[in-house]
Assembly symmetry: C2
Homo-oligomer: 375 residues x 2
């Protein structure tokens, strides 16, 4: 069902880019396609465009619904629409499925023109830098010279940071939510468990599972389960599930005893039913590799010296995946460069996934910040 | 190599118990065996015995080395020995492999007399309560009416708590380290991921892998990897590994990029080479089920009303698996019952695994407490 103030029925679009793209890894894509959606209208000055960047499992479908599926509400529909914080009466909002994704943009599921079969493991690893380069092509295609804002949560926030340093004159506001300037060893460790779960699934076939007519669902399911734990806060899990028993008593078996087990299995199964394993692997690597300070001896302030944008940075009190301290690292580096930054540490019980929710304090802040952006 | 002040070369012993044991699940073991080790000498009054309870992957081999393997140092060798905090010149120390374990006590790897094959999945689920009942048989066998102390870390600490309520007149001191009165939803969630990794391994064969001549190493490896993340602190991981690259550069592949990946894979592979999958599953369930307040409407203080022991409770500042707040729940419930309790919250960087280390403040506290125990 479409929510109140929805952008309504939307349809994805597709852009072809025929110029080759050399990736961070050195691999070269002869050309590629991106699937995207837009909401609102680009103004005469082309000054009101906002790019929404998705995180690990998101897509170009940010807001609204599809005509043939009223349940297909966009993943950030609570944020984007007429009268919503990212107001489509003011802004022209663009959602894009990133390169390497599994929702229609060129990626491991695409047909490799060299072989006539799906790329699978032959699709090169793509990084946050590569995504921004590809998104810039989309901006050109749409006639957007400069984004009013680039906004994203988690891995999406990293893309906003990357825009600010890679193409500093093409972004006026970077909105970085529940993000981090780089992964910690613990973050990488969780990603590595997820990857090993997928890679060690006998149905993975070295990434060429499509050629075998199978999908490594067992590995994907485990990967999502472990990921999901890191998206929720300990306190929220305690509140939502606690030690509630599914059947009112201990079963003394390996069936579901506790509600949290049932919930995790459900989330894992659901995800394994629609997400592509090679894309998942690639997304976790994009996360691991992201580190703008890498070429600056670890000095984030030096890395951000090129940035010209104004920043909105927000973190959530119970987010232990990318804790508030990680956002503060970004803020300190921005202040060091005398860049304009609004930082909010929001009390919210929902952990990392808070960025997807319509917490009133959080949305009020977003609304206020976005209202002040000149278009 | 044997450490300084080692108990030296030791040898495991074995006790047979022919009387049936009815488990918490309702299942009945017609008889069982426990493998154990002892260090020091039981005094004339039989008043100096200390039981060391192991955690998830521990064993009866607490201290010393084996004659045929000088590298086989006991898992708590830094604590137990002449002149060490748990001083074997004063105490008679007992280590035991718990029922259902995979180091020689009756468990899933044992031969089921009914079938002539290994129990495998037919071995019943065993709980912390069952372990204490079995350990009490061992105490009888050794002529120990009352333990001077029962000590353990993590799941081992839960056994010390259980002793204090199940057999309150047979324990004088309960030493509960890096433990919790019950698992949180998040704790259970991590266990569930580990279980699903094992159960969904095609080599698991519903727990009857021994009959197929295989071992579900892939699942065990993943289970250990995810477990290991929860044993270490974020800060220690950052300090030990940070974002150090294995090969000095990003490889743009799914081989090892970061040192933390290499470390986790190593830990997972090592563990999968020696631990039994059915025992691992059972251990995680024993953890999930432990909840002395379960029969007392969740009131821990009511559950502990039967306890008569004095308590030593310790937690570690960077332990996020069983954070200090979880130990404080135990302390509050003990104080509510006007029981004697010494509580220490120890600053240590090593997370949950701190309880295994020889942190000087921690060991000094243990030493002081144990010195005051009359024998």
């Amino acid at each position: 069902m479409s929510s109140e103030n929805s952008v309504g029925v939307v349809a994805p679009q597709r852009a072809h880019f025929n110029e080759p793209l050399t990736l961070k890894s050195g691999a070269r894509l002869p050309g590629f396609e991106l699937v995207f959606e837009t909401y609102g209208t680009l103004n005469a000055e082309h000054a009101n465009a906002v790019l929404v960047c998705h995180a690990l499992s998101g897509s170009h479908h940010v807001a609204g619904t599809y005509a043939d599926d009223p349940e297909s509400i966009g993943w950030w529909d609570n944020l984007v629409g007429p009268g919503k914080p990212l107001d489509t009466r003011k802004f022209f909002v663009v959602g894009v499925n990133n390169l390497g994704g599994c929702y229609g943009s060129t990626g491991p599921l695409s047909i490799n023109p060299d072989t006539g079969k799906r790329f699978g493991a032959d699709f090169p690893l793509v990084t946050v830098e590569d995504w921004v380069a590809a998104q810039a092509r989309l901006a050109d295609h749409l006639g957007i010279r400069t984004w009013a804002a680039v906004i994203g949560g988690s891995l999406g926030g990293m893309q906003a940071i990357e825009w600010s340093v890679q193409l500093p004159d093409r972004i006026r506001h970077a909105m970085v939510i529940a993000s981090a300037p780089k992964l910690s060893a613990q973050n990488i460790a969780f990603n590595e468990v997820a990857r090993q779960a997928i890679i060690s699934d006998p149905d993975f076939h070295g990434g060429y599972y499509a050629d075998h007519g199978v999908v490594p669902t067992t590995g994907l399911r485990l990967a999502r389960m472990v990921g999901h734990i890191t998206y929720l806060s300990d306190s929220q899990m305690a509140e939502k599930f606690g030690r509630q028993l599914r059947h009112g008593e201990h079963k003394f078996s390996y069936d579901v005893d506790f509600e949290i087990e049932s919930y995790l299995r459900y989330q894992g199964n659901k995800f394994a039913g629609y997400f592509d394993a090679n894309t998942y692997l690639m997304m976790t690597k994009a996360l691991d590799y992201f580190d703008p300070a890498y070429g600056y001896e670890g000095q984030l302030a030096a890395a951000l010296a090129r940035a010209r944008a104004s920043f909105f940075v927000a973190s959530f009190s119970t987010d232990w995946r990318f804790a508030p301290a990680r956002s503060r690292e970004i803020v300190f580096a921005l202040l060091h460069n005398r860049l304009h930054v609004v930082y909010a540490e929001i009390e919210c019980d929902a952990g990392h996934d808070s960025f997807l929710l319509a917490d009133p304090h959080y949305h009020d802040l977003l609304r206020a910040y976005l209202e002040n952006i000149a278009v």
